[in-house]
């Protein structure tokens, strides 16, 4: 009897294990296999034309050597970090200011403005650059109209100020992440701390630097990592706004990989760039999981 029950239990376990299989199978086929394949391809001379798509050879580290000597790769490397750096600063500071606004008791009309502040992230990714392209138009764009109104020099945004435009669009929807992380951290600070400050007559600045900041230290670190991780493989906005141009001034790493593979048909080199991005994101993900466990 005891044996029978145990047997039944095992049978149920096996059945349950079968429940796992379809999901794991789909995930392995369309996510793990491409990832491993990408790693393998980055060591071959596979190309997107003719025979080379099917008959390719392992060439070792040749692709990576090619990357190291390619000026455009280094250009795109520095461009990516420039993009990440400025995006990080702007997204972080707007997010911090917005979260302070959401959590403070000082201002009026909070529910509506909170909803508006959250809107940018609710839009699908392709609508955002579309709406911004019109804003940034040189002759008719709203931004240049405002600049003319303020009696400043209108700019050729998408061309001469490509990097600034791309960062501006990225930050437009990107600050919401920092805002939500930081504001939820501030909300979880016990109110008593501030009451004690009131008793001692601490100023607002003192309250912010001595109570709020130390308590939201890890959420701040986490949002920095998250922002950096999001920006490092950014694709959609830049692809639609400038397509890496003019003269590779906004060629982010992911765009460089895409162009190498689909414009120049060098799939192997493209995969090598992909591997570089993957390693960067992997390290950041580990850091993120570590930090979010500390919190």
């Amino acid at each position: 009897m005891a044996f029978g029950k145990k047997f039944e239990y095992r049978l149920e376990e096996i059945l349950l294990a079968f429940f796992l299989i379809p999901a794991l199978l789909l995930f392995i086929i369309f996510q793990i296999v491409p990832t491993l394949w990408a790693i393998y391809f980055s060591f071959t001379d596979i190309a997107l034309y003719g025979k080379k798509l099917f008959e390719y050879d392992v060439v070792g580290f040749k692709n990576f050597e090619e990357l190291l000597t390619d000026d455009i790769f280094w250009k795109s490397f520095t461009v990516t970090f420039e993009y990440c750096f400025y995006s990080l600063i702007i997204r972080f500071s707007i997010g911090l200011v917005a979260s302070l606004y959401i959590t403070s008791k000082l201002f009026k009309g909070k529910p509506i403005i909170t909803a508006i502040l959250m809107l940018p992230q609710a839009l699908p990714g392709t609508v955002i650059p579309y709406a911004w392209l019109s804003m940034l138009d040189t002759r008719y764009g709203t931004l240049n109209q405002i600049l003319t109104f303020l009696e400043m020099q209108p700019q050729s945004w998408v061309y001469k100020r490509a990097m600034e435009s791309v960062i501006m669009v990225n930050c437009w929807s990107g600050y919401v992440l920092a805002m939500l992380v930081i504001s939820s951290a501030i909300k979880s600070i016990p109110q008593e701390y501030y009451e004690v400050c009131e008793i001692y007559g601490a100023s607002r600045w003192l309250k912010f630097t001595k109570v709020t900041l130390p308590l939201i230290k890890w959420p701040l670190v986490l949002s920095t990592i998250l922002i950096f991780k999001e920006d490092i493989d950014d694709f959609t906005y830049v692809f639609m706004l400038t397509d890496g141009g003019p003269y590779y001034r906004t060629e982010l790493l992911s765009l460089y990989a895409y162009h190498k593979a689909f414009t120049y048909y060098e799939l192997g080199v493209g995969c090598a760039v992909g591997l570089v991005i993957m390693i960067l994101v992997f390290v950041l993900t580990l850091a993120q999981i570590k930090v979010s466990r500390i919190m």
Partner: protein, 288 residues
């Protein structure tokens, strides 16, 4: 004493600048969708018209210059809907099975498997795109909406399994055992007791996967080559790839804005409903 009141004023000024920055593009999108003549300029129109929406649904023809460009906006909407719905169905079915199994099974290395799923699921899609393209050629997923949906769903699985497992963990084992005592078979228990209890979880997973399928851009970008099979995201994007850089007045702004508005509304609603879980996914803290 100067510091305290002026802080409020500075706060309002900064807030006003941030709000202007956020609202202007959306205001342009909204106004142009209803304006008879659209352009990249922000201008209050003299009259309000629904003609742009009629053009989107193919009920009216474009009047001005860009008419030569063929637009299949009504088809794009249908394609986006197909992709989103298939993504939702595939994800919900697979995720509820896997989530239930992971919630009930106890085996060695389970937490390792869960963490590995999470880390692997966070790998960037851009790096995977190229082999995915080659893989999809052999599966016949090029120009195949169902294929696009399956690929999108496969990327969603890890995080959604985490969420679903969290919901199943809340359903007590005793509940199932009681159902068995009352003579329900295992399968009956699953469908009549467990799944209804996990209803909220299934709803969340469905919302999130619909949102992902509806808004995805990179997967259709590499898999779809025919213009009539474009989803909205790709449709909007390619109108600009045809006219890169400074677009000027060449693009049919009015209909595109109307289309964008149609595109935006479902994802906006779903975003505000399921925001909490979207944040949990972003943060990698998925214990619900």
């Amino acid at each position: 004493m100067l510091g305290e009141p002026s802080l409020e004023l500075i706060g309002y000024v900064i807030l006003a600048i941030i709000l202007l920055y956020i609202i202007l593009p959306m205001a342009w999108l909204f106004i142009t969708a209803f304006a008879p003549t659209g352009g990249p300029y922000l201008r209050i129109p003299e009259s309000v018209t629904l003609e742009n929406f009629a053009i989107v649904f193919g009920l009216a023809k474009l009047k001005y210059g860009a008419a030569a460009m063929s637009l299949h906006m009504d088809k794009w909407i249908v394609n986006s809907l197909i992709i989103a719905i298939v993504t939702t169905v595939v994800t919900v079915i697979l995720v509820s099975m896997a989530g239930y199994a992971l919630s009930r099974l106890k085996f060695r290395g389970k937490s390792l498997l869960m963490t590995a799923l999470l880390v692997l699921g966070m790998m960037p899609t851009t790096a995977k795109l190229l082999p995915l393209y080659k893989l999809c050629i052999s599966f016949g997923f090029i120009n195949n909406l169902i294929g696009v949906a399956i690929v999108i769903a496969s990327g969603l699985l890890p995080t959604q399994i985490w969420i679903m497992k969290g919901f199943f963990d809340y359903i007590p084992r005793d509940l199932e055992e009681q159902a068995w005592i009352f003579g329900c078979s295992k399968l009956e228990t699953l469908f009549k007791v467990v799944l209804p209890c996990a209803g909220p979880g299934i709803t969340v997973v469905a919302f999130l996967s619909f949102l992902a399928g509806w808004g995805n851009f990179t997967v259709p970008l590499i898999l779809i080559r025919t213009e009539t099979l474009y989803p909205i995201s790709l449709g909007i994007a390619t109108t600009f790839i045809h006219h890169p850089g400074e677009v000027g007045l060449a693009v049919p702004y009015g209909p595109l804005c109307a289309l964008s508005l149609i595109y935006v509304i479902p994802s906006m609603c779903l975003y505000f409903i399921s925001r909490k879980y979207l944040m949990a996914i972003k943060l990698g803290r998925l214990e619900v």
